[in-house]
Amino acid sequence: MSEENKILTVSASPHRRTEDTTGGIMIDVIIALMPALVLSVVLFGFRSLLVVATSVIACVVLEYICRKVMKRNNTLGDFSAVVTGILLAFNLPSTMPLWMVVIGDAVAIVVVKQFFGGIGQNFVNPALVGRIVLMTSFPTYTNSFVQPFAWRMPNVDAVTSATPLAQFAGSYTPDGVVSAMNSSEMPTLAQMFFGICGGCLGETCAAALILGGIYLCIRKVISPRIPLYYIGTVALIMLIAGKGNLQFVAYQLLSGGLMLGAVFMATDYTTSPIKTKGKIVFAIGCGILTSLIRIFGSLPEGVSFSIILMNILVPHIETLTTPKPFGTVKEKKQKEEAAK
């Protein structure tokens, strides 16, 4: 086509296309997850790398088989299965039996993702459902956490340790949280920031996760709104629950899967609202549910359940927060005027 023709040709919109591809975005997410992966190997040994590798391979193989059996085009190139695999493994303790990891992958990829039509069609976050299925099925395995650096000690198989949240559980009164924080088993805030505490293999190190989150924000893969509003809501509620005890708030923000969930899970494109207002409503809802489950629930941690519950509400959030197109009159007003 000559230059003249290009100018004279009239085509239908869209006229400008972005260079972004799903594969590129997913590779950015994988890069952002790398610091946490490296730290998990440092903290929990090569066993955690084995869990992550098993999960990724299982996800990719299952996705390939699913697409083949369902006679759909191959979507391995978008790397979304790899991200799901890493995220699911990050939500499991490093001692998890590998066949159970594969079952979690099967639930995530086959049931949640491919049964509903593949990438972009899943109504909840696949990795979180995989984790919840494993949690309800094998509670003894998903809730036994080894102490960091236990792999370096010779002659010790595994030293289990209670997570900070498990130590807070059931004592969410102003006095109870102080005594829980002063107990000898509770790690210091600095230790928690660098992940030296019991927990799932990818969730303990807040520093690495925040680093990944900043990278994603700079690359414009995610907007910082969901993580900030999510974490902010939890901070606010915990400030009230702890009667203004800032140390307690810091403990709550650094413990459990909050950082991992807020940065990498709640910001999933498919299962979070598109518009800014909706994103804020979604994130605040996640924060409220997480805090309520932690304070009043029978489980010590509620990040996965709260994100899943808000995922299900996303279509309603979208309809309720649809922006009014410029120059139009609100429906209610229209009706009122029609009545006149």
Binding site: W99, I103, V111, V133, T136, S137, F138, P139, Y141
Partner: protein
């Protein structure tokens, strides 16, 4: 009925092609609630089948006596009578089953399958055809319950009929409600595939024709309200 079916067809349709649980999606509540173990599923299936056959026979015999306007209360009275009989028999001879099924045994009274067959079939057809239809539907219900409960008990508790089988830890989620929904959906998908292979109607996705009662729906046959609604939703 548009075309006369043979008794054999009336009997076999309930097992796969028009399976009450898996194809007509009736009686979902007892299906999910009683399939946590195979024992209770078999008990539930047989009790419901007995009530279904008996109520179909009586309702069919009375179909010319029952006034059209009050037919539903009349059907319920007949069904409730048989449920009471079955409940008393179960309480007397298999009290353990009665304990397992709990409230779901008396709830057979409001089981959609039984009322659905009374309304859609027994109220319009002869006694013999109704009896055969009830028997086929009852067997279809029992088979569906047994298949779902076998999967749930095997993977959720690691056993079948109480005999431990699995050498590795079982997945508790299968005996919980979410696992019930998962298995129910998967078995339903298999039944749809089987029915299609057997020459049944392909399962529709969306629209008025996707309704499990589309075949017996009088409104749809007339192209009435239902159809209009369907068009409206497509346009909007």
């Amino acid at each position: 009925m548009a075309k006369q079916k043979t008794l054999r067809e009336e009997f076999t349709k309930g097992i796969i092609k028009e399976n009450p649980v898996l194809r007509l999606v009736l009686g979902t509540c007892p299906t999910l609630a009683t399939t946590t173990s195979m024992e209770s599923a078999i008990g539930m299936g047989i009790s419901a089948a007995i009530v279904l056959v008996c109520s179909n026979i009586v309702i069919s015999a009375l179909r010319k006596v029952i006034p059209q306007k009050v037919r539903i209360p009349c059907y319920i009275v007949v069904i409730a009578a048989f449920v009471t009989i079955v409940q008393m028999l179960v309480k007397a001879f298999v009290p353990s089953l009665d304990e397992q099924l709990g409230v779901y045994l008396p709830l057979i009274v409001v089981n959609c399958i039984i009322l659905g067959r009374a309304e859609a079939f027994a109220g319009k057809n002869s006694v013999v055809a109704s009896a055969v239809d009830g028997l086929g539907m009852g067997i279809g219900f029992t088979v569906a319950l047994i298949v779902i409960s076998a999967v749930r008990e095997l993977f959720g508790a690691g056993s079948l009929l109480g005999h431990a089988l699995l050498p590795f830890p079982a997945m508790t989620i299968f005996v919980l409600a979410p696992g019930g929904f998962f298995v129910f959906g998967l078995v339903m998908a298999c039944a749809n595939k089987l029915a299609e292979m057997g020459g049944g109607k392909k399962a529709e996705l969306g629209g008025c024709k996707a309704c499990p009662m589309a075949d017996t729906c009088q409104k749809l046959a007339k192209g009435d309200a239902c159809e209009k609604e369907g068009k409206e939703t497509v346009e909007s």
